[in-house]
């Protein structure tokens, strides 16, 4: 696979302070790369650098292997960018969608046909004649997506395009965007702080923390085997406990975690101790007097310390020598009568345990 867009030793400074430092990043043809990280991590800056909208203090951005510097305008005309705000012009919806084509000198009848086709693809064809000022948030996002796709870009760059929308609208739009990206086999970079959004759209994920790329890999790799503690925390691993390696036999590593034996699949880390990571959705809770049928390798008795309702789910913290966090459905939380002080057995598979060497 060839890289459509690349970054080499890039550094962006603001007021003399380095806000972004990325040694290497490639966006391959036909892939959807998600850049995830908390607010203020430098995700937008990275996207702007990829979009030739940011002049780096050092390093290079390459488009199809050639440096972008000095030909920013022509490179920008082969890409499309959807920002957090739709930022539509005070004109009709159709004029807005045609703006990029007009800037490229596309003839009028061609512009009309293309704009209408993409407006219809995003379900807002009937709004073509309406003033962009009179659109709802969801409609405006649809128009901004049509405005990007109408350009038939070689790369699509999206900067949290749905972050300000309500949940149902966001879900629908994500679904439609994913469909269109699949259909068009678009090469895309998607910036988000929402892990679930990233997992839904992207084939690869890059984690950006405090202006540095900390890990890049497939969804499974990054979410299941984060490179370090901070990445683990960001990708949603809530249980992280210090463990000491006891033995490693037949692809199973046994560790001592606060006096409890925890088994992890894989080879022993190079270091004598490791951070034991377990995703909350991989932990199953059962009654203390039940659960003999559970096949998981790790079965730890404990006591519920805290139950937090998350709507249809509950976050349960269990003290089993160390704090283990589980996600259970609201229904099972009720069935098990979970509340602080309830004795339970927490189970999780050895394959659900990820070890970060210390």
């Amino acid at each position: 696979m060839s890289a459509r867009l690349s970054i080499r030793n890039l550094e962006v400074r603001r007021g003399g302070v380095t806000v972004l430092g990325v040694a290497e990043l490639d966006v391959f043809d036909g892939e959807v790369l998600a850049i995830i990280g908390p607010n203020g991590a430098g995700k937008s800056t990275l996207l702007h650098a990829l979009a030739a909208l940011e002049r780096p203090a050092r390093g290079r951005v390459l488009f199809e292997g050639e440096p972008v510097a000095g030909r920013e305008l022509s490179v920008r005309r082969r890409m499309a960018v959807v920002l957090q705000e739709p930022l539509l012009l005070d004109a009709s919806v159709r004029e807005n969608v045609e703006t990029g084509l007009r800037l490229r000198g596309v003839p009028r009848h061609d512009r009309h046909a293309r704009a209408q086709r993409w407006l219809e693809r995003f379900g807002v064809g009937h709004l073509a004649g309406r003033s962009a000022r009179k659109l709802s948030g969801g409609e405006a996002r649809r128009v901004s997506l049509a405005r990007a796709f109408v350009l038939d870009p070689d790369v699509l760059l999206l900067d949290e395009p749905f972050s300000a929308l309500d949940q149902p609208t966001r879900e629908t739009l994500l679904e439609e965007l994913a469909d269109v990206i699949r259909e068009t086999r678009m090469t895309a970079v998607f910036v988000t702080h929402d892990r679930a959004e990233a997992a839904r759209l992207a084939s690869r994920v890059a984690v950006l923390l405090a202006g540095r790329l900390r890990q890049i890999g497939s969804i499974g790799e990054v979410f299941g085997a984060p490179a370090d503690e901070e990445v683990a925390a960001f990708v949603g691993i809530e249980t992280m406990a210090e463990g000491r390696v006891i033995e490693a036999v037949d692809g199973v590593v046994a560790l001592d975690v606060s006096g409890r034996r925890v088994e992890a699949a894989g080879v022993a880390p190079a270091s004598p101790s490791a951070l034991v990571c377990v995703r909350p959705e991989d932990v199953v809770l059962g009654r203390a007097d039940d659960g003999a049928h559970v096949s998981a390798r790790n079965r730890l008795p404990g006591v519920v310390v805290q139950v937090t309702s998350l709507g249809h789910e509950a976050r349960v913290v269990v003290d089993c020598g160390f704090h283990l966090v589980a996600r259970v459905t609201r229904l099972s939380a009720e069935e098990l009568g979970l509340e602080a002080g309830t004795p339970v057995v927490a189970s999780f598979k050895a394959t659900s345990v990820h070890l970060i060497p210390r």
Binding site: H48, A51, L53, L73, R76, R77, M79, A80, V81, L83, Q84, E85, L87, L89, D90, T99, G100, L103, R104, S131, R133, R147, L151, L157
Partner: protein, 232 residues
Amino acid sequence: MDLIWDGIREAISLIAHGDRELLEVVARSVVISGSATLIALALGVGAGAALAYGRFPGRSVALTLVHTGMGLPPVVAGLFVAALLWRSGPLGQFGLIYTPAAMVFAQVVIAFPIVTGFTAAALGSLPPMLRTQLYALGASRWQMLWLVLREARLPLLAALMAGFGAVISEIGASQMVGANIPGETRVMTTWIVSLVARGQFGTAFAVGFILLALVFAVNLLLTSIQQRERTR
């Protein structure tokens, strides 16, 4: 009260009979102030854009100067321009003092900071990321500038109104660099003063009403454009 009624009556009569002097003075006023406004618009939009988007040393000083200039008393503007244009002044060789060109010059000095200040404010009030979005859409620098000015067209119309309103109704500068020469540099405001000085209140009122009606008509036109745009 009679004075006002007489004035209105005389105004109607002067207009109805197409009084030559009146029409000439009105036309001259409109041409001088209109040209000054258009020149100020051409210069002020560029300067306003530079102030809104430029990052150069002394930008805030320049902005403060512009804001001060927005309240520049016309008589002071007239004084500066007159000093430049006097026969002994640096631009004296062109012989412009007491000509309509001198009046246009002085009125540009009055309207330029107004248009500049309004433009800078108008562009400054657009979403900061809009320019980024336009560049991302593939706009060159000039295309971007054209699109943001188009986006700020309503406040720019306000700039036009404010600029024209200021210069058509000013007197200090016109008097100082034009000297109210009949048939040459006499405009509505300077004529009113001389009419009052001669006790010709009726004609003064007539000209005053026409001036008022003119300013009203121009603002009505621009306001209706704004309203139509806003409700589009």
